[in-house]
Structure formats: structure tokens, C-alpha cells
Symmetry: C2
Subunit: 282 residues, 2 copies
């Protein structure tokens, strides 16, 4: 595995969960990610499902808490979870805020100083990481899907809407669905992307959907007891935008669920089955 360093490995549901680091040319420094290889990958190449985590997470949270391996093993999918930002870049103040900088890359390619030299998470997730996965793991590269949670739900929607040819399916848990209109998104976009509102639209699912029809229905689960729902997540904005362009969307409001991984775990089976079915088509 050229350039890949295995940090730790655990058997999980008959498959193999590995944590890796590698020098990233895109982010200009070391990046980490986790890969779950289902038992089927011992014999054959398998489809790949990327999960993008939310604010403050690392590559570990999803693998430790979502309970996804159980279903990835059942459906024969590889799971890949990147870290949520570069780390230890040396940028002054990178660790000062929980919702900006370290752990909060927002899956954009930063254009502003001092962030743009390292914070290139969009290109990392869409280009460098998939190439690395394809080169080192037994994958069917034409069968990729992507999903995520909160900031990572935003990231998954943006990656898929901007590259429908790369992702057969996309889903999200409690995504930041209209980042240009919420405090988290406005803070991150203004500092990563500057004040040019046009560049913001490239990273806002509710804006992108007006321009690009996605080839498949989109699945979103949103807990009604999520304390970030009204101010930060705004799924209704995305829902209206989808309706305006006739984009098929299944937005499920899950009664009483909050923003935690306990919510994700409760519906992870549905999401993995959704992606597995998309990979089976054609």
C-alpha cells in the first residue's frame, strides 16, 4: 500500500476495519481515514460507500458508533470515513473553535488565507481519497455512494450534486441543508471562501439543486428533537428547492430523535440498504 500507513486494524462482523494515515498532496499534510472491508472483499471487488462526519468528529466516530459494519457486511459494501479536516497544519488558531478549523473543514476548497494551503476537503473527498481507495482496496470504482451527518450531510449532498456521474446515490442524516442561510455555514464560508456569495453557491445543496438534476432520489432523515434543526439545518429549504425543480427527495422527519449518533444508528440500516439497492441497478 504505497503511501498508506496502517495505524490499527480490528476484525468486525467478519470483515476488516482499518485506520490509516497518508501524506495528502491535496491537503498538503497528513490525513487520516478509516476503511471497513466487508467479508465479501476477500473474494471480489465491492462497491464503496463514503461517510462524511460532522463537526468535531474524526475518522473514528462513524465506525465506532453508527453500527454500520453490521449492514455493510450484509450487503457487501466497503465503508470509507475520512477525517473532517486537516490537523496540525500550523495555522494560527486552527484549534480555537469547535465549529471552524480543526474538525470543521466543511468539505470546501478554501480560497482564503491562511486556510487555502491545507483546507481542501472538497477535492480531497471527491478526488484524492477515491483514487487512493481504488489503488489500494478491492473496489468497484464505478459503484460509489456517499452519505454523511450534519456538516457531513452537507458535504455528501454537495459532492453528489456537483458530481452526479461519480456517485450513484446520496443520503444524509440531519444535514446542514442550506449553509448559506445558517450561522454555521455563514461563519465557515466567509472565512474559507471569502465574501463572494457566488462561490458559496457551489457549496450549498439548496442552491446547487436548482441547477443540477440528480439522477436518483435523495434520502434524508431528520430528527424532530434535534436542537440544531430550526437554526442550523433547514431541511425545509432544501425540500422546497427540490420541489421547485421536481427533484425526487424522501425527507423523513423522525419523531423524537436528536442530533446524536444514537439517531444515526437507529436508521443506518435504511440508509445502507438504500445505497446497496442503487448499486444493484444496471
Amino acid at each position: 500500500m504505497t503511501n498508506l500507513k496502517l495505524i490499527s486494524e480490528s476484525k468486525s462482523f467478519g470483515g476488516k476495519l482499518g485506520f490509516y494515515s497518508h501524506p495528502s498532496s491535496t491537503c498538503n499534510g497528513e490525513m487520516r481515514f478509516a476503511v471497513y472491508q466487508p467479508p465479501q472483499a476477500n473474494q471480489n471487488s465491492v462497491p464503496v460507500l463514503y461517510f462524511l462526519s460532522g463537526l468535531t468528529c474524526t475518522e473514528e466516530n462513524f465506525m465506532a458508533k453508527a453500527g454500520a459494519q453490521r449492514y455493510a457486511a450484509e450487503y457487501g459494501l466497503m465503508l470509507v470515513a475520512p477525517d473532517t479536516s486537516p490537523r496540525n497544519t500550523g495555522i494560527a488558531g486552527e484549534d480555537d473553535e469547535w465549529d471552524f478549523g480543526t474538525g470543521a473543514g466543511f468539505y470546501v476548497d478554501a480560497t482564503e488565507q491562511p486556510w487555502h494551503q491545507h483546507y481542501q476537503m472538497y477535492s480531497y473527498v471527491v478526488q484524492e481519497l477515491p483514487a487512493l481507495i481504488a489503488a489500494n482496496f478491492p473496489t468497484q470504482t464505478e459503484k460509489q455512494g456517499i452519505f454523511g451527518h450534519s456538516m457531513g450531510g452537507h458535504g455528501a449532498l454537495v459532492c453528489a450534486l456537483r458530481n452526479p456521474q461519480l456517485y450513484k446515490s446520496v443520503s444524509a442524516f440531519a444535514p446542514i441543508a442550506a449553509p448559506m442561510r445558517c450561522p454555521w455555514g455563514q461563519k465557515a464560508f466567509s472565512r474559507y471562501l471569502g465574501s463572494d456569495g457566488e462561490s458559496w453557491r457551489l457549496y450549498d445543496a439548496s442552491e446547487l439543486i436548482k441547477q443540477v438534476k440528480y439522477h436518483s432520489p435523495i434520502l434524508i432523515d431528520q430528527g424532530t428533537a434535534d436542537k440544531f434543526l430550526a437554526e442550523q439545518l433547514l431541511p425545509e429549504v432544501f425540500e422546497q428547492a427540490c420541489a421547485a425543480v421536481n427533484q425526487p427527495l424522501t425527507l423523513r422527519y423522525q419523531e423524537g430523535y436528536d442530533h446524536s449518533y444514537y439517531f444515526i444508528a437507529s436508521f443506518i440500516e435504511d440508509h445502507i440498504r438504500y445505497h446497496a439497492l442503487a448499486f444493484e441497478e444496471k
Copy 2:
């Protein structure tokens, strides 16, 4: 809920996961635990399954990482996970070692100074906590089971073997199966219980099983890639002791699995089903 303080609550698989604290008379200070109430508990009293965690864990690890709620909801069982020790007792040095003191109560009633005033985890788990659960949650108190991991696997076996009338079923993941013979157990027992070897036998499953026949088969899963297997866990000692007294035991060596929660999650369904079936009998 007298004396119980709800710290946080999340909906999970249709049920309710709560984290609580309370003043413990047994441990002479605040104790914490987590309770998962399956959806069935909204209508009826349900059986209770206690999970004891391993070294360094809190009441959270099992609920966040084991994926147990999925199956507790399916089978209609309440899950209770206590913390692994008293905390913030003021005992000098309590936080100094990862395998002794805080996070390492070893489920014994300490008799030695300075620990005995707080470290009464055996009585806490067997008496105070079940009474508290019965008083505050809809449980079938005659249907209790217990399981655990590593230090908590040891704890579960000891609690069940010393109180077969209280626990209809017992199982363990990678338990410290013969603590008198391993470094972890010898360190903890000598400092919590003193040098009297007789008192040690009361907390060693491989010794207890010689004196008490347990009414049901015991289930143990042990990963073969567990780095603590040879020196600390010694399941073969327990297996031999069971064989000598004709105690039914299913000891499964799981090829390639390590000591982590990824191992636990991979087999949690089997364990919960095992306990659920025991609750259905008679």
C-alpha cells in the same frame, strides 16, 4: 424518580436511552449509570439485562459502541450499564493508574484502606443498583440477566455465580476468567482485598464455579487476536474448572477478533438473544 438525576436522554431504536446520576449509599458518593428502555417498556414491564464494562470505561462506552439497543428493542429487554468505579472520591492517587482505582473498580467490595469506604462495586451492582432500577423503571424484577466485557466479564460471572437466584442468565466477552492468576487481578485484589487469599476466591469465577453450580449454560466469546488473552484473561482455566464440575459452558473462540468494542458489536446479537431466551423459559 427519587434521588435520580437525568443527565441526558436520546431516543434510540424507538426506545429511550438515559444517562443518570444518583447519590449511592453503598459507594458513599455519586454514581452514574445508563438505562436503555426498549419501546415495549412504554406498555409493559420488561426483563433487565445488566452490562458491566471493562477497564477505563464509563457508563457510556457500551451504549455508544456495542450496538446493543438494536437487539434490546427487538427482544424487548431493558439494558442497564453502570459506571466501572466510584469517581472523585478524594482518595489520594485514585486517578493515577489506568488499571486500578478510577475506572477499575473490579466489581469487588474493597476491605482495605483507603478504598473500602467507596469501592463497593460488588454490592452496588448486585443490590443497590437493581433496587434503584426496580423502583424507577418498568421492570420484571424476577427476570434479570448479566453480562460484561473483560473486567466486566469477570464481574458478571462473579455476580451470577454468587447469586444464581438473582440472575437467570450470564454471558461474557473476553472476561478476566481467573483473576487470582493474572497480573490485573492480582494487583487489584491485593490492594482492594488485602493479602488474604481466601477473600480473593469470592471474586474469582474459576474458583467460585467449583463450589456453586449455576443453573444455566454460560456463554463466553473470546477473540483469538486479543492481545490480553494469554496473560490476563485465561478462559482455559475457567473452562477446565467448568468441565471438572460439569457446568455447561459454551466458550467460543472467535478467529481473528481483538479485545475492542468492534469484537463485542460483532457478537452482541448472539448474547442478547441468549439472555432473551433465558427470560422466556418458565
